[in-house]
């Protein structure tokens, strides 16, 4: 009993921190509709700045310590305002999700910045002044500071409630969360509202970080681990709902604490490690919640967002003669690459082609179907693992494994997609992420079958394909076939039905289109193409590891699609090429390559808010009918 009580308190303390990070993200999304990838980075900065501030002000006694924390949170809030004013404000008019690209760039820049300022070593801050001991609860020693944290969560929740319900500013925020257009119509100074919301969100992230100083060291991994936790909580609670975020934080904090408390249990003769389950438990919770409640626990169905006229894609046109000729020339030039390029050009081009196919398969969902996936790497990974497992475990010849692997991915996509297509918008995106993480954790844990965290080695092409130029030609043919097939499908009735579903589900219903079935089929198809990319990738590397289906690979895919331009068909391929090439070139030639890559992406974002191909299409006259 006593241990249950204490684990419950542990869960509460953890929930407070989770709530602080998540609530800011939720506010920002609610008002600005920006999926702020950099939120975890702001949290990380909160810890680092607080570490420095607390150490600097420590001599001033308790006031110095607690004041230092507040200063850190305020500083992060100010940085948030700055980011909004300098960067995000310029791209609100861009197609939805494009802002995600900018915040992704910020993640890279902030990480390198932190490394540059604070160095690589973990920095463990001092214990909380005045709360550095432990009290006895149920015969166990419990840290005073954790009790303080337990109180902070509800306190912040209460203050936010007052702010949102008792001030004019709060009324505006709530109105904007429900209907963004309405606020514009009310004649509110939208710029100021957005900046202040972003600053408040950043402040809360910074505060969450600062409050962790007495509990954990500042370190450079915190950004990504915090952001995935925060997203999960925001979505489980319901996007834009602050009480929802609190409830979700509570549930996840408690579920984790009890998984740890339970430890290993023998169920029907099998030892189940609940402790190991903490690797993925929040994503399991999220998947269950979203399947049962498609808008999170306390969220409401999102008001249908009418796309601004500038966001509506122009009708599809058949490729112009120039474009066809250009594609043929490019194809020939690529086919002949081994003849005139260096050996490394060939190797790099294999990666570029694979990622082009992967990005195009993601775009197939994001663009025509309007279904954003944050977990598309799952199918890339299933293809890669499918190839490896069929080759090594099932004894398939390499060629057969390559052919069969996309079907493995398609099967996975069909399974996950069945649930996902019942959702829409960010919730759909997050359910794809949840499934991807669940898939990842299975692959990561199943040592005897998938090789666990080490993955599998020895996945090499058959002898006749083993020379790089030969394998390159095979890659080129398969990827080109995949890209052309997807393009053809987009022009076919099926592709039109997808675009119809994106444009107006209501109209689809009224003309008898079974949208869920169509979207499910699209999900499966996209999974198959991603799986093909994954299988080609596995054979080009000779090995697979869980990294092929990690979040970062999904994010890379998103970045490629957005970079190229989500409203164009060739955009994803160009985005994949640009991103892969940039990363390769910059990483090989500079030390602070992450920030340089981030800056480059920021420049592209600000200069070409339609993506690279979107920009070209607009610049060179394929846009019309702008009246």
């Amino acid at each position: 009993m006593a241990s249950i009580l204490v684990q419950f308190l542990n869960g509460l303390a953890a929930a407070s921190t989770l709530f602080l990070i998540a609530t800011g993200l939720s506010l920002i999304f609610g008002v600005t509709r920006i999926v702020n990838f950099a939120h975890g980075s702001l949290y990380m900065l909160g810890i680092y700045v607080a570490y420095s501030a607390v150490n600097a002000f420590q001599p001033a006694g308790p006031l110095g310590f607690w004041g230092g924390m507040l200063v850190a949170a305020l500083a992060v809030g100010a940085l948030g305002a700055l980011i909004e004013i300098l960067i995000l404000r310029r791209i609100y008019q861009a197609p939805e999700l494009f802002q995600l690209l900018a915040t992704f760039a910020l993640v890279l820049i902030i990480k390198d910045f932190a490394l540059w300022v604070w160095g690589a070593e973990d920095l463990l801050g001092p214990r909380a002044v005045g709360l550095d001991g432990a009290v006895s609860i149920a015969g166990r020693r419990f840290p005073e500071y954790d009790l303080f944290l337990i109180a902070v969560g509800p306190l912040v929740l209460g203050l936010l409630w007052l702010l949102l319900h008792r001030t004019r500013w709060g009324t505006l925020v709530r109105a904007a969360t429900q209907d963004r257009e309405m606020v514009g119509a009310l004649g509110v100074n939208q710029k100021l509202l957005f900046t202040s919301v972003f600053a408040l969100g950043a402040f809360l992230a910074g505060l969450g970080g600062a409050l962790e100083v007495p509990r954990e060291p500042a370190q450079l991994f915190l950004d990504l681990s915090a952001i995935s936790d925060a997203f999960v909580i925001v979505v489980v609670g319901g996007m834009g709902s602050i009480p929802g975020a609190f409830l979700a934080a509570l549930i996840i904090g408690e579920v984790k604490a009890f998984c740890i408390g339970i430890g290993n249990v023998e169920i029907l003769g099998v030892v189940v490690s609940f402790s190991k389950l903490t690797l993925v438990i929040e994503f399991v919770v999220m998947a269950v919640v979203l399947v049962v409640r498609p808008w999170g626990l306390l969220g409401r169905p999102q008001a249908i967002q009418r796309a601004a006229p500038s966001h509506i894609e122009p009708p599809l046109r058949p490729a112009s003669r120039g474009l066809v000729a250009g594609a043929v020339v490019l194809g020939v030039a690529l086919l002949a690459l081994p003849a005139y390029g260096t050996a490394y050009n060939v190797v790099l081009m294999i990666d570029i082609l694979v990622f082009a196919l992967f990005a195009a398969s993601l775009h197939f969902l994001m663009g025509p179907a309007g279904m954003v996936s944050f977990g598309h790497a799952a199918y890339f990974g299933l293809g890669a693992y499918g190839a490896g497992l069929l080759l090594l475990r099932a004894g398939f010849p390499m060629e057969a494994a390559l052919v069969a692997a996309p079907f493995v991915a398609a099967l996975g996509a069909a399974l996950f997609g069945w649930f996902c297509v019942r959702l829409s918008g960010v919730y759909l995106a997050m359910l794809t992420l949840a499934f991807a993480q669940i898939g990842w954790s299975i692959v990561f844990q199943w040592d005897s079958f998938t090789g666990g965290s080490n993955g599998m080695v020895g996945i090499w092409p058959a002898a006749w394909l083993s020379a790089k130029p030969t394998y390159y030609v095979l890659t080129l043919l398969l990827c080109a076939a995949g890209l052309l097939a997807m393009r053809r499908i987009v022009y076919a009735p099926f592709g039109y039905a997808l675009r119809a579903g994106r444009d107006s589900p209501l109209r689809c219903d009224a003309i008898g289109i079974d949208l869920q079935r169509i979207q499910w089929a699209a999900f499966t198809l996209a999974g198959a193409f991603a799986g093909l990319a994954g299988a080609i990738y596995a054979f080009s590397k000779g090995s697979v590891s869980p990294e092929v289906m990690a979040i970062s690979r999904s994010v890379d895919g998103l970045v490629m699609v957005l970079l190229g331009g989500v409203q164009t068909l060739s955009g994803p391929a160009v985005g994949a090429a640009a991103f892969t090439w940039l990363q390769d070139t910059i990483a090989r030639n500079t030390e602070y390559w992450q920030s340089l890559l981030g800056l480059t992406i920021l420049v592209i974002v600000l200069a070409f808010p339609r993506g690279i191909v979107g920009f070209l299409a607009w610049r060179f006259g394929r846009a019309e009918e702008i009246e």
């Binding site: 009708p315 009735p493 099926f494 039109y496 107006s504 219903d509 009224a510 008898g512």
Partner: protein
């Protein structure tokens, strides 16, 4: 003339509030029936029970004699029901012609095809429909740049694509200029009469109601309080009191 749509004893409540209470009426072939009533009278609820978006608590909805309660909107569409919306719902990223082609492709069950070019299928049929609603010259323009009145016509053409026997039009002229309203309703009237389609529509504009409806039914607080020709409704004292009375005059 036989009843295309027959509704009897339809009821629906939301959390204790009776939105629609044992409403019964029929719409016959070639007839335009306007459903009117003050805000909150239950028009939209009624409408959505007919088109399948809501399931009634009790009562029956028959289309051409077949029960539709419990069927999904797209199944009801298959039974020959076309719809237009109060706020137009078209495919903004497609051309006008492609919008119609989508309805035709769906009608012919060809939406799963992965190979042929969608824009080359049912082209002639689509253009015929566009010509009928008078916007053929707009066929190649994107829906996103169309004038609102023309979008309404696109919707009408889409609704006609599966040769419906019943047309459900929710506020067909909302948001249009007065002159356009009359033109659109005249066109709709012409088409339904030549094809023998039954129409049920809701409307706020009394000119559109009395100028085009063959019959009018009036809902108030979820109940059907009157039914008859335009003249009969105008003369009905109860209607004048609860509905027209509140507006001053018709």
């Amino acid at each position: 003339m036989s009843a295309v749509l027959a509704i009897s004893g339809l009821s629906k409540s939301f959390g204790g509030v009776q939105a629609v209470q044992s409403v019964s009426f029929e719409v016959r072939e070639g007839e335009l029936l306007a459903m009117i009533g003050p805000n909150g009278a239950g028009k939209t609820t009624c409408f959505n029970m007919v088109n399948g978006q809501l399931t009634p608590d009790s009562g029956t909805v028959r289309i051409g004699g077949a029960e539709t309660v419990g069927r999904k909107p797209r199944e009801i569409w298959r039974m020959g029901v076309g719809r237009t919306f109060q706020i137009t719902a078209t495919f903004a990223s497609m051309t006008v012609r492609e919008n119609i082609q989508m309805a035709l492709l769906s009608h012919h069950g060809q939406l799963s095809r992965l190979w042929p070019r969608a824009s080359s299928l049912h082209r002639a049929a689509a253009e015929e429909l566009l010509a009928r609603v008078g916007i053929l010259e707009q066929a190649d323009r994107a829906c996103s740049v169309l004038a609102y009145g023309d979008l309404k016509r696109v919707e009408l053409a889409m609704a006609l694509a599966n040769d419906p026997r019943l047309l459900l039009m929710d506020e067909p002229t909302a948001g249009m200029a007065p002159k356009e309203r009359i033109a659109l309703m005249a066109l709709a009237g012409e088409i339904v009469r030549e094809r023998g389609i039954a129409v049920l529509y809701t409307e706020h504009d009394m000119d559109v109601v009395f100028g085009h409806a063959d019959r009018v039914i009036v809902l108030n607080r979820g109940e059907l309080i009157a039914s008859g020709t335009g003249d009969q409704i105008r003369a009905n004292p109860e209607v004048r009191q609860v509905y027209l009375g509140s507006r001053g005059e018709a």
